[in-house]
């Protein structure tokens, strides 16, 4: 490492700083200034408006449910992929990545095809009075779909690196499957799990494409925050749009802080055990 930063060093630092300024800092400043352009009063009114509050609740509901179901699924799938060997394992591994590869809009269309009017399931769903698309269940399903690889992908490398020795050791002492998971596996992966949950939360809150397709945009019913922002924006109600957007920004910053904490803890955890 050379101590003196040469011209190249400064040029690279400059480019990076400029890039950050244009791509991250300016938009954030803009969101804040636009949201507050007409003063605190307007801002508070925009974010406490019933439809906005409703949208926030729906976003939180979809996020919480998606995170819970994906935590369960992520733990189970990571366990399956790392502690067992079976035929078709790599196929399952790739299938789990599908939501990363596929456009969220296409994912949304899946659910329309699967549960909408054109679906062979539709007569049954209708008879049972179950509505999925253009309703809250559809939004939750779409959110679950687009976020489900996150936790698995965080857990698999950690669990793979740890191997199954500790689990086997616990088994030789007569520990049951649940005890092995509770006392051995879970403590070993907890920080990876926390990290996965945080990433999953961030993605679930911001999801637009898939949710947009299945939502039907019914204000106060099936609008999440990102959808609500789009509607406000399309109505040229910029101040309200930015005000609501600022809620998402605040949530995002909160998640980033948590993420950094988790990462720090995970690193320290590793140095004391890894």
């Amino acid at each position: 490492m050379q101590k003196e930063k040469g011209a190249l060093g400064w040029a690279l630092i400059g480019i990076a700083a400029l890039f950050l300024l244009v791509m991250l800092v300016l938009p954030l400043v803009l969101v804040a200034s636009e949201a507050l352009a007409k003063g605190w009063q307007t801002y508070l009114r925009a974010i406490t408006e019933p439809f906005a509050v409703k949208a926030l609740y729906l976003t939180l509901e979809a996020t919480v449910l998606a995170v819970i179901s994906n935590t369960v699924f992520g733990l189970a799938s990571a366990f399956l992929l790392t502690k067992f060997s079976f035929r078709g394992k790599s196929l399952i591994g790739s299938m789990i990545d599908l939501p990363f590869a596929i456009s969220p809009v296409v994912a949304g269309l899946f659910f329309i095809m699967l549960f909408g009017r054109m679906s062979p399931l539709y007569p049954f769903l209708r008879a049972e009075h179950i509505t999925i698309v253009f309703a809250v269940p559809g939004i939750i399903l779409a959110t679950v779909f687009v976020t489900f690889p996150f936790i698995t992908r965080e857990l698999v490398p950690v669990m793979e690196a740890q191997g199954r020795d500790e689990e086997e050791a616990a088994a030789t002492f007569g520990a049951s499957g649940w005890q092995i998971f509770r006392y051995v596996t879970l403590p070993n992966i907890k920080w990876a799990l926390v990290y996965g949950v945080i990433l999953c939360t961030a993605r679930a809150m911001g999801e637009f494409g898939a949710v947009s397709v299945v939502s039907g945009h019914v204000r106060g019913k099936t609008n999440t925050l990102p959808l609500h922002i789009e509607i406000l924006y399309n109505e040229y109600n910029f101040t309200a749009a930015f005000a609501v957007a600022s809620i998402l920004v605040i949530l995002a910053v909160l998640i980033l802080v948590l993420r950094n904490l988790a990462e720090g803890r995970a690193k320290r955890g590793e140095s004391h055990d890894g």
Binding site: E166, E168, Q179, Y183
Partner: protein
């Protein structure tokens, strides 16, 4: 309490790989057994099947007279020490050792007593509240040992117990482990690919090759009476000679067939000239091809009749150099002629003794 172990006609394949091919083995109570073989020979598979971490395709496993094929690992009365110890990284030394007892719902007070006794036994009394990461390799190995012993198993299984420890500590630990196991009188089986380790720690050595048991015996037996070409080759440092009848004293080995044999360094006597040899007439002329310092002796590569042999030479004798001529006397050869291993002594020695 300690148990004997029987394996009968064990077969095990992984995919297309035959890890165990008709393994039959009887292990007496209270003995330390070393499963010795090259890597990939199936020795760890045998250990894991005894533990119940793998299931044999066919054949029976008995521990203490009871067939355990369908009994899960935790109920077999075994303690297992893993190659990399597999200590629970988020538990302290004491919690690790207590794990088996906690699972068995042993009363707290008894657990404490047992953990106290075991940390004392392994000399880690002051390290009870450390995490595995804060221990050295040798300390971790001792924790793994104590943890395996905590539920008072009848059979202790150790997979390459010294593989992850540096050379100096390894030597200390071997002696320590042997003493500790003998003190407890527990039947123990350990896997190793290191002959020195097997010879030093085991009461009996089981030589495993390609999923099959080649020979079982005390270290002395294995060393002095190898029953198969594989054992003769694997134990000690061996040089293959395609035809041993070219050497003086072994001319009329067997009448027909191949005369393949093995010569170990300790079978050779290498001298600088006739005056150093006890039987100069029976000695071969050779050329030194390499001399390597080995700390307590010199390893000498010497070419005799176009065949490169390996021997050792005391550092007290005049040193040999590459290219020097040397005298070589071959005391004995392991012969594989006729598909059977047999030890051939140099004929000159027999005649010599007759004369005297």
């Amino acid at each position: 309490m300690t148990a004997e172990v029987h394996l009968q006609h064990i077969q095990k394949t992984f995919g297309g790989f035959k890890a165990s091919n008709d393994v039959n083995l009887t292990i007496e109570k209270g003995r330390i057994i070393g499963l010795l073989g090259p890597s990939g020979s199936g020795k760890t598979t045998i250990l894991r099947m005894i533990a119940g971490l793998e299931t044999p395709d066919s054949g029976d496993i008995y521990i203490g007279g009871q067939r355990v094929n369908d009994i899960e690992p935790g109920k077999r009365g075994i303690g297992f020490v893993f190659q990399n110890y597999a200590l629970f990284r988020y538990m302290t030394v004491r919690e690790n050792i207590a794990f088996g007892l906690t699972i068995q719902k042993t009363p707290k007070k008894k657990i404490k007593e047992r953990v106290d006794a075991l940390t004392e036994l392994v000399g880690l009394k002051d390290f009870g509240h450390r995490y595995p990461m804060q221990l050295s390799g040798g300390q971790r190995q001792r924790v793994a040992f104590a943890r395996a012993l905590a539920p008072e198993p009848e059979l202790l299984l150790l997979d390459e117990p010294f593989a992850a420890i540096d050379a100096k500590v390894r030597k200390e630990l071997r002696g320590w482990l042997r003493k500790a196991i003998h003190k407890l009188g527990i039947t123990s089986i350990f896997v190793t690919h290191d002959q020195d380790e097997a010879v030093e720690v085991a009461d009996d050595i089981v030589i495993v090759n390609r999923g099959h048991i080649e020979q079982t015996g005390t270290p002395v037996e294995i060393y002095q009476q190898p029953r198969t070409p594989f054992v003769a080759d694997f134990i000690g440092e061996a040089v293959h000679v395609p035809d041993f009848t070219i050497f003086k004293g072994f001319e009329n080995g067997r009448a027909s067939g191949a005369h393949e044999g093995i010569i170990r360094p300790e079978f050779l006597e290498i001298g600088a000239d006739d005056s150093e040899m006890r039987m100069p007439l029976a000695s071969e002329d050779g050329t030194v091809r390499g001399v390597y310092f080995r700390g307590n002796s010199a390893e000498v590569d010497v070419e005799v009749k176009g065949q490169l042999l390996k021997g050792t030479r005391s550092l007290e004798k005049p040193p040999l150099h590459e290219g020097d001529t040397a005298k070589v006397f071959i005391h004995r050869i392991y012969s594989f002629a006729g598909g059977k291993t047999e030890i051939l002594e140099n004929r000159a020695k027999q005649i010599d003794s007759v004369i005297i």
